[in-house]
Amino acid sequence: MEKALCPDCDAELKVPNGVVTGEILTCLSCGLELEVSQINKDCMELRELVIEGEDWGE
């Protein structure tokens, strides 16, 4: 299992073995959903998954 840091809250993410590009990971600390955008030999790139937000009457 590889490790990566959440780009928002900096918590350590446990990345399952055999993860592939496009897979969605969730940060256990802040709940951010992250898409594995690139996998190189020694590093992995994660980017925030953009989802439609809710408008609470603002």
């Binding site: 928002d8 809250c9 900096d10 918590a11 940060c27 600390s29 802040c30 709940g31 959903e33």
Partner: protein, 350 residues
């Protein structure tokens, strides 16, 4: 350890009895209530029916000395100071739930409580019962002064930022909301259902007594004075406190930097949880989620518009804000896991 509760008929006393009855290291021998002496404690606290046949007894110091090693005192402010010294003189350890031994400066009792402290020599000796800040001192003291409920939520929210020296210390605004149990079990016109229900009452917009202990404890972290602006509201719930704390940053911080400050200050604390979640209904602390538990949930949001950091902290006022905290201190004294007897994770939904 054999324990007793003096002032067992109020909400804090009842919660202490509930926790101590199921605590594996506590033998509850004595529950004192002048008003209900001779009555079963479940007659006053119906949730305890079937768990004990203990009856309330009147205050009898020789009997307490004979049957207890440690006593929780849940008497009203100003009454505790007359009883606690006698318990200490009898060789007992005391966890006092009132404000009578929280403040170090005797002059603060005149300023904030309107009475002259009669045993000021004990103020220096008493340890403020917030394990997150005073764990080492709590281990060997004979007198623990449990913090106020709103002070607990405020101090725990602010302590990491004060320690990191990242906020302006003269612009700290705490907006506190508390449920009706915070007013105690004695009814008054202000707590009458028809008057209270459905309202949000700003009952102490300035001059709240907890300011004294919040400033005292935050000053101690850096030995530099801090000025707290505090407004308290009572809202339409029975239990719970939410503090919304507005602070202004000395220089802008990123979300990651705030996370780092919080995590590094509270690493491994058993009752501190961070809540700043990106999805779902409960993205920031909400007292509803901690009811019945000893957790303090802490979250935050950054406001780049005015370099403001909003800290939110939520507790159950009768648990982490009073009796749960008292039992956590008891566990520190015993040297056992601080979660002992406090494993409840609360209800959902409530």
């Amino acid at each position: 350890m054999r324990v007793g509760v003096i002032g067992g008929s109020g909400y804090v006393g009842g919660e202490l009895l509930r926790l101590l009855l199921s605590h594996p290291q506590a033998e509850l021998t004595t529950a004192v209530s002048r008003k209900y002496a001779g009555e079963f404690i479940f007659g006053v606290h119906p949730n305890l029916r079937g768990t004990t046949n203990l009856k309330f007894v009147p205050l009898d110091l020789p009997q307490i000395k004979k049957n207890c090693d440690l006593v929780f005192v849940a008497m009203p402010h100003g009454a505790s100071v007359n009883v606690v010294p006698k318990l200490l003189e009898a060789g007992l350890r005391v966890i006092d739930m009132s404000a009578d031994f929280r403040l170090k400066n005797p002059g603060d009792y005149v300023k904030w409580y309107g009475w002259e402290h009669t045993r000021p020599e004990l103020l220096e000796e008493a340890v403020y019962g917030l394990p997150e800040l005073h764990r080492q001192e709590l281990k060997n003291t004979r007198l623990i002064a449990c913090p106020g409920c709103m002070a607990t939520a405020s101090i725990l929210g602010l302590a990491p930022l004060v320690a990191a020296d990242v906020i302006e210390k003269d612009r700290v605004v705490i907006d506190a909301k508390i449920g009706s149990s915070g007013a105690g079990s004695k009814p008054s016109p202000a707590t009458h259902h028809a008057e209270k229900f459905g309202g949000v009452r700003p009952y102490k917009p300035v001059g709240h007594r907890h300011i004294a202990e919040i400033e005292q404890e935050l000053d101690l972290i850096t030995n530099k004075p801090i000025t707290i602006s505090f407004s308290a509201h009572t809202v339409n719930m029975v239990r719970g406190i939410l503090t919304t704390i507005h602070v202004f940053l000395k220089k802008p911080l990123t979300v990651r930097e705030v996370w780092k400050i919080l995590r590094s200050y509270y690493q491994n604390e058993p009752f501190i949880r961070f809540v700043r979640y990106q999805k779902g209904l409960y993205r920031l602390p909400d007292p509803k989620v901690v009811l019945g538990s000893n957790f303090c949930d802490i979250g935050f949001e950054l406001d780049s518009h005015n370099n403001r950091l909003v800290i939110l902290s939520a507790i159950d006022n009768l648990m982490k804000g009073a009796s749960g905290q008292g039992v956590q201190c008891f566990n520190v004294v015993l040297g056992v896991d601080e979660k002992t007897g406090l494993e409840s994770i609360g209800f959902h939904p409530v």
